[in-house]
């Protein structure tokens, strides 16, 4: 399954028209920031909550270089030759794991996939025992996806290898946020001052949490929209409250028709169907009537405002089919950019200057 996904993504990267050939040199571009100013000082990527905008931009700029590599006929460079990446997934996820695997391989690393279903994880082996095993193997990086919030933090404290959080419970998904920021930056130019609406199940969404930090750090105005049952407590305060409480400065609006007005971009989240059975929603119909991103609602955003979705999409629930496949959907770009962003993160963690 991983192999198929890999191939699909490779061909998509190669066929993206803009990236087909190395881009011609822009003489104006060469003189700006000739000397790098930002150093990479992180051992792990656990979240983007404490990233400065300069650090985020370093990742996004590095991603530009990785996109160029992906666009080549033979996308492979030796940057991480001799390093070993272990992907350890306690939750099924075809796309994120395949994305990391491809990213590692393009950079010349060895990638070992450990899936919960096929390892001793299911035999009740404790997370920290698994961490020790991965350490003993000699891994340089562990890409960890876990159903429990905070699991990568616990692993990182006990490990000598670097940890990349590939999604932990309801907490964080930093590479998703970085690829979303990259996709938005490619589409909108500077993100500063842009109004970005995140719609859906905010409470249970690690994608939403990391995006709040990342986008507000880049200066965007972030508006959260969803039913009150799916909104986490404590976010609807003033900016000063948010600072006092170490939460990102975002705004909450429960009415999507109001929230979406004048938006520069709209990000819809996946709605887990079990939210209905747990009593948080009367029905999917009720949800989509109120919160579906559809053509009519999108018309209230800025003309041409792009639509993002972390996938996989429940078409006709959180997003209408016409919008999901419409001209303003950036869903495919997100997937392509995901590989490049993960390459950038792997490269910076393994080749950046260490503290």
């Amino acid at each position: 399954m991983a192999k198929n996904a890999t191939r699909t993504q490779t061909s998509r990267a190669a066929s993206t028209p803009a990236a087909k050939r190395p881009t011609p040199l822009n003489p104006d571009a060469t003189s700006e920031r000739l000397v790098p100013e930002t150093n990479w000082t992180r051992r792990h990527l656990l979240d983007v909550d404490d990233f400065t905008s300069a650090e985020i931009e370093l990742v996004l700029d590095t991603t530009d270089a990785m996109k160029e590599v992906l666009a080549r006929d033979i996308p492979r460079v030796p940057a991480l030759r001799g390093t070993t990446i272990v992907t350890l997934f306690y939750e099924a996820s075809t796309r994120t794991r395949a994305s990391f695997e491809l990213a590692g391989k393009v950079l010349g690393a060895d990638v070992i996939n450990v899936a919960a279903s096929s390892s001793s994880v299911q035999k009740g082996e404790a997370l920290l025992d698994t961490v020790r095993t991965i350490q003993a193997i000699g891994a340089d990086v562990c890409v960890l996806r876990h159903h429990a919030s905070g699991a990568p933090y616990i692993a990182a404290r006990e490990s000598e290898f670097r940890v990349i959080n590939a999604g932990d419970g309801q907490h964080a998904h930093p590479t998703q946020a970085l690829l979303d920021a990259y996709t938005l930056r490619s589409e909108l130019g500077d993100i500063r001052g842009r109004k970005i609406v995140i719609v859906g199940d905010i409470a249970h969404s690690r994608v939403a949490r990391s995006n709040m930090w990342c986008l507000t750090s880049l200066g965007a105005e972030v508006v959260l929209c969803g039913p009150p049952t799916l909104m986490p407590v404590g976010l609807n305060g003033s900016t000063s409250d948010a600072e006092e409480h170490d939460l990102p400065p975002v705004r909450v609006e429960y009415d999507l028709d109001i929230a979406i007005e004048g938006a520069d971009a709209v990000m819809a989240l996946r709605l887990q169907r079990e939210r209905q059975s747990s009593g948080l929603l009367p029905s999917l119909r009720e949800y989509s009537r109120l919160y579906q991103v559809n053509g009519e609602r999108l018309a209230k955003a800025k003309p041409g405002a792009p639509v993002l979705h972390p996938g996989p999409i429940n078409e006709g629930v959180e997003i209408s089919t016409e919008v999901a496949h419409g001209a303003r959907s950036l869903v495919e770009e997100q997937v392509t950019n995901g590989v490049a962003v993960r390459m950038a993160v792997l490269y910076l963690l393994l080749r950046g200057e260490q503290p």
Binding site: L46, A126, S149, G150, Y153, Q170, H171, P232, V233, L235
Partner: protein, 453 residues
């Protein structure tokens, strides 16, 4: 005839109102006299100068894990931890394996305490068989066997009718029911307090209302029956307010609070207490995972205020020792609980240092307060005081004494705990106020090396 003379300390016994520099003489395990120039003839002598001499502390809420979970704690290690923490009486909760819901198990606990315990152990029996919340345990039989209260602690008595019937049946033996106040529906599997920190960490929150609705229900049941009910580990402002109102109405409600709910907030789950969190990452500190969860600063302030006013009667540790591996894991999968006996006094002393509580009040809430809350003087006359002569004709209160150096600083080092449970969020914290020696039944059961004369 064994004699122990504690010389020259500041004798502080809020229960009898004593607060003066004096000697305390214990004869045959009982308080025989308090005064100056008591005869040291044939007595072992403890130098109490510069120290506070108070009745041994009484913990009405601890988990000793024995029988069945001896890997977490045993009656021997748990009571050793109690002695070090200044506690000479420990009421142990029945969520053992098997549950303390039969005479045989009560007898096992008492027999084991007798053989291996360092301090007094008073078992609390289960309200329902197996703590399953369905059928009442044989409360009168348990009382006869030696239980001093009833509780399904760890879980609430979810069925209000069962709670009422338990209170009614317990009243036959003159005992009190203790409820763990939590509405399971509202708590919704939350692993920490629902608030901005749970949002920050992406952890399932347990709303304060889960505790408050249960407290309100319990008070209504107590009002209807006019029978005593004790509320375990109260932790929110609204719960405190409900208790205050109930007491104003004259209802037989009592309540306790833990040292951690008096001093720590939900931020302890996420952020280092040492302040130097610089570029550090979020903690997800499983040692701060406890039920009820650590709450907000406002809740903490309300609990402290209520304790000071006497709305909350007692400090109880809710000592909940666990094995390392049960905490060295994902936050969601970690068990609830803090190992609290050995840090309780030092932690509470931070309230004295900050001026939120005076020392006599703190001592009262650790001695006379808990005894009053559960009516323990019926089981152990004079418990929690230094009374010299008792109405029952006994010579004096039990010779349970704690010697305290309120100025001594020490650092919490879990690896040096007597308890098997090293699960504390206080590791590395410096506390001021230390138990220097503990005397149980006239014998020194724990002392810092230098102290015994």
């Amino acid at each position: 005839m064994s004699k122990l003379l504690i010389q020259g300390g500041r004798v502080l016994d809020p229960g009898t109102g004593i607060d003066k520099v004096a000697d305390v003489l214990l004869v045959d395990g009982l308080v025989a006299g308090i005064g100056s120039d008591l005869s040291a003839d044939g007595a072992e002598i403890l130098d109490g100068s510069g120290l506070i001499v108070s009745p041994g502390f009484v913990d009405i809420h601890a988990h000793l894990r024995d029988p069945g979970q001896e890997y977490k704690e045993t009656i021997a290690t748990g009571t050793e931890a109690a002695a070090r923490g200044g506690f000479t009486t420990v009421c142990c909760m029945p969520n053992t394996d098997p549950v303390i819901d039969t005479r045989a198990t009560v007898e096992y606990v008492l027999r084991t305490a007798d053989a291996t315990g360092r301090v007094r152990v008073l078992p609390i029996g289960a309200v329902s068989k197996g703590r399953e919340g369905h059928d009442l345990a044989e409360l009168a039989d348990l009382a006869e066997a030696g239980c001093i209260a009833f509780s399904d602690d760890g879980a609430p008595v979810a069925d209000g009718a069962l709670l009422r019937h338990a209170m009614e049946f317990a009243s036959i033996s003159g005992l009190t029911v203790i409820d763990h106040c939590e509405d399971a529906g509202i708590a919704a599997g939350g692993v920490m307090h629902e608030g901005w920190v749970s949002t920050r960490l992406g952890l399932q929150g347990q709303p304060a209302a889960a505790e408050e609705t249960a407290v309100a229900r319990d008070i209504a049941v107590a009002a209807e029956t006019d029978l005593p009910l004790h509320l375990a580990h109260i932790s929110t402002r609204a719960a405190v307010d409900l208790v205050r109102t109930a007491k104003q109405r004259g209802l037989p409600i009592t309540a306790e609070v833990t040292p951690h709910h008096l001093t720590l907030t939900h931020e302890a789950v996420a952020f280092s207490q040492n302040g130097s969190n610089g570029n550090a990452t979020l903690l997800y500190d499983t040692n701060a995972k406890v039920n009820p969860p650590l709450r907000t600063a406002d809740d903490v302030a309300a609990c402290v205020e209520a304790l000071r006013e006497g709305v909350i009667d007692a400090i109880a540790t809710d000592h909940a020792p666990h094995a390392d591996y049960e905490k060295a894991c994902e936050f969601d999968e970690a068990v609830f609980g803090i190992s609290g006996l050995e840090t309780a006094f030092g932690l509470c002393m931070t309230l004295v240092r900050s001026g939120d509580l005076d020392l006599p009040t703190l001592i009262e809430r650790l001695t006379a307060g808990p005894v009053r809350a559960l009516g323990l003087e019926r089981s152990v006359p004079g418990l929690g005081s230094l009374a010299e002569g008792l109405p029952a004709g006994q010579a004096g209160a039990p010779g349970d004494i704690v010697l305290i150096d309120p100025e001594a600083e020490w650092t919490v080092e879990p690896e040096r705990f007597a308890s098997k449970g090293r699960n504390t969020p206080l590791a590395g914290r410096t506390l001021m106020g230390k138990v220097v020696a503990t005397v149980y039944g006239g014998e020194v059961v724990w002392a810092e090396e230098k102290v015994p004369a």
